[in-house]
């Protein structure tokens, strides 16, 4: 666990809403999400496909693809250079300021390294482009730095590899090159959107180790987006579980695996097959399916699939994300009662937010 000091907040996502206006209706991809990222911390953002986790990442960089728009909420970036936080959501997506943040302060790596690298430009060309864009280095200096970066992410013979094309590299090497590109301007935040999903299991482990090592060496914060609980368990300090555009539970990794609170989280953990499971035991699955993206579910978004569903309550009242134990927030009516009783205490905890856990 990383020890967290006061005021080491680097990113504050508050009540963000991303809507997609399609011909068939509005898709509320992100629906009032709150998330904080501290210095040197890895936060895992977990959820099923389509729960809005990738759009959250894009909203942070203010680059939600059309026809999506950020309709509400703010993203604040804390930097060493300025005493007041920079409000990223206030800018036009093509604004110069936000373009300078992308790649320089906040970098992003993607799910499919092959598709995320241009097929007709060399790796070096793409890394050098990023370096020169933000650092304004001379071509030769930028090339040296690019080679250093490739070496840093563990690519052998980096000078020669600069002139390679994406299709000449293996899957793992490509993702390493992507990471090198993301690191080109020493970002304080790295958003990794499913960085290992498209890779073999053995390569997955290598990439995760690499991210872990780089974090220790460079001290950056990582927002790790994944649908794979195993990845989170291995790397994240804190975990936020997302369902239908909202965070339903947020706590430390240990607490999540030892003492999950939200029925959805419990369901997720139960549906992971275990090696020591009895052969006869059927694999557990959460009943039902993710609702139609156009639908709006009244009350708790999870209630149609919840096995602790309380009629007349869960389908009416929308739960809030509230702290039920120190550093452990849940959005579920099962805990709302106790939460409300401790309203005063909750506020005190809120005020202490960010202190050690």
């Amino acid at each position: 666990m990383v020890n967290q000091e006061k005021n080491d907040l680097v990113l504050d996502v508050e009540n963000i809403h991303v809507h997609f206006n399609t011909r068939d209706g509005i898709v509320r991809a992100v629906n009032g999400l709150n998330l904080k990222l501290h210095k040197g911390e890895t936060v895992g953002l977990v959820g099923e496909s389509g729960c809005g986790k990738s759009q959250t990442a894009r909203a942070i960089l203010n680059m939600v693809p059309s026809p999506g728009t950020i309709v509400d909420g703010t993203v604040r970036l804390y930097t060493k250079e300025s005493p007041t936080p920079l409000e990223l959501t206030a800018f036009d997506p093509e604004d110069k300021t936000i373009r300078r943040i992308r790649g320089k302060n906040i970098a992003m790596i993607f799910q499919e390294p092959m598709a995320s690298l241009s097929p007709v430009h060399t790796i070096g060309n793409q890394i050098i482009e990023a370096i020169r864009l933000h650092d304004g280095l001379e071509p030769a200096a930028a090339r040296n730095k690019a080679a250093d970066l490739l070496g840093l992410v563990g690519i052998p013979d980096p000078k020669r590899r600069l002139d390679n094309y994406a299709f000449q590299l293996s899957g793992g090497m490509r993702q390493r090159a992507m990471i090198a590109m993301a690191l080109s301007c020493d970002p304080s935040i790295l958003i990794a959107d499913e960085p290992t999903t498209a890779l073999d299991v053995t390569i997955q482990a290598q990439i995760l180790q690499l991210l872990y090592r780089l974090q220790n060496e460079l001290g950056m914060s990582i927002l790790l987006i994944t649908h794979n609980l195993a990845v989170v368990a291995a790397t994240a300090h804190r975990v936020a579980v997302m369902y239908m555009g909202k965070i339903v539970e947020e706590t430390t990794t240990e607490a999540l695996f030892d003492d999950p609170k939200h029925p959805y989280t419990i369901g997720l953990l139960r549906s992971v097959p275990q090696l020591d499971d009895d052969d006869q035991k059927e694999l557990w699955a959460i009943k039902g399916n993710v609702p139609n993206p156009y639908a709006t579910v009244s009350g708790c978004p999870f209630h149609p699939r919840c096995d602790k569903f309380m009629a007349g309550k869960c389908d009416v009242v929308e739960p809030n994300l509230a702290e039920v134990a120190p550093g452990h927030k849940v959005s579920c009516l099962l805990f709302e009662e106790s939460g409300r009783k401790r309203d005063a205490a909750g506020e005190r905890i809120e005020a202490r937010e960010g202190e050690g856990k």
Partner: protein
């Protein structure tokens, strides 16, 4: 038809170690997942407004060709005494006010004293009402029943040249309607022949693979790098002049398809190869389905839709080719009448300047080709009803 197709599409592509269901199936989605492919194709095609419009136009065109004799007020080779007469436009309003029955003025030919050319002026003193279901020149309805009943005309000694007359005094509109028969069918017959060639050679290429595939593919590449018009011209020019129009017609379809098959062969081969690797075909093979059953139940259904789409896109190319050849005088020859044959009259700039209506047969060519292209685009999108479903 191919239920396994939809079943296959629903299989989530689980990533390793994943615990999340990748697909959300709602009751609304279930209707889509359970629909047979042809229904999905129809839904998808229906959404494509231009394609529906294209289909309608194509249908109307073929109906016109089918009932050409009935629709045309005159025979295609019937010569009137007024060569190069300008179009007579049916009117509703005259000096006496509005009349519900459209009428045309009479046509008076005068000799221009300075140029010694015949010029026509409307004779407003005579009016001929346009009537429907009139008796005109005899023709064979649907090519079978002899009759003289025609859709419309002006009885009582008047003339109705909707699009003027050509140099020999034949009604351009009537010829255009009758020409649709050759122009529209030559594409169909030509495509049918190309399809046979394309399926045989493309299928062989895809089925045998190896050296056979290699040779056929190289041959296709060579034929495709040929400029087609000179080749077509050369082949068509070799037709003996004494051949009857029917023989010329079939010779042209053969010539067009001899080069036109390459595109279809590519489609057939490509589909063959990609389908062979599809999961649902492998699944059928693993469940011990016979080869015949796999072809009948799995390959053909997903095959035909693509083939139909490619055919639809090939027909306009054939129509354009026939028009071009006939225009140059090496395709269909008079007395046969196609749009290309008619446009040959417009080859000479002097006659076009004198009688611009001789260019009018170009319009049905453009309209038909456009309609087929829209229709084909829509069919191609609909041919793969599962693409873009999720």
């Amino acid at each position: 038809m191919g239920k396994s197709v939809s079943g296959d599409e629903m299989t989530p592509k689980e990533a390793d170690g994943s615990v999340m269901p990748e697909n959300g199936v709602t009751p609304g989605d279930e209707v889509i997942f359970l629909a047979p492919p042809w229904k999905l194709m129809w839904w998808k095609f229906r959404e494509h407004k231009l394609a529906v419009a294209g289909a309608t136009v194509v249908l109307i065109m073929y109906c016109i060709a089918l009932f050409a004799g009935f629709i045309a007020p005159y025979g295609a080779t019937q010569r009137m005494r007024q060569p190069l007469a300008p179009p007579q436009i049916p009117r509703f309003i005259s000096d006496d006010g509005f009349s519900f029955r459209p009428f045309v003025y009479g046509l008076k030919g005068e000799l221009d004293r300075t140029t010694f050319e015949r010029v026509y002026v409307p004779d407003t003193s005579v009016r001929y009402p346009v009537e429907f279901f009139v008796r005109g020149a005899p023709h064979k309805f649907l090519g079978l029943i002899p009759t003289n009943l025609r859709l419309f005309g002006v009885p009582g000694g008047g003339t109705l040249y909707l699009m003027g007359t050509d140099r020999l005094g034949r009604d351009v509109f009537s010829r255009m309607v009758v020409a649709a028969q050759i122009s529209l069918t030559i594409g169909l017959v030509g495509v049918f022949l190309s399809l046979v060639l394309g399926i045989v050679l493309g299928g062989m290429s895809g089925y045998f693979g190896g050296a056979v595939d290699n040779i056929i593919q190289r041959l296709i590449e060579i034929l495709r790098s040929f400029p087609t018009i000179p080749l077509w011209m050369a082949l068509a020019a070799a037709m003996p002049p004494f051949w009857s129009p029917v023989m010329v017609y079939f010779a042209i379809t053969i010539i067009l398809s001899m080069i036109g098959w390459t595109g279809l062969a590519r489609v057939v081969r490509g589909r063959f190869l990609s389908l062979r690797e599809e999961d649902f075909v492998i699944a059928a093979r693993l469940s011990a389905a016979t080869e015949a059953r796999i072809i009948r139940k799995h390959l053909l259904p997903s095959f035909t839709s693509h083939i139909i789409a490619s055919i639809t896109l090939s027909i306009p190319r054939m129509i354009l080719a026939e028009t071009a050849l006939s225009f140059l005088g090496v395709g269909m020859r008079p007395p046969a009448v196609s749009w290309g044959v008619m446009l040959q009259d417009a080859q000479n700039i002097y006659s076009v300047v004198m009688a611009p209506w001789l260019m009018l047969p170009g319009i049905p060519v453009v309209v038909t080709v456009l309609a087929f292209n829209f229709l084909g685009d829509g069919l191609r999108d609909a041919a793969d009803p599962y693409a873009g479903l999720n």
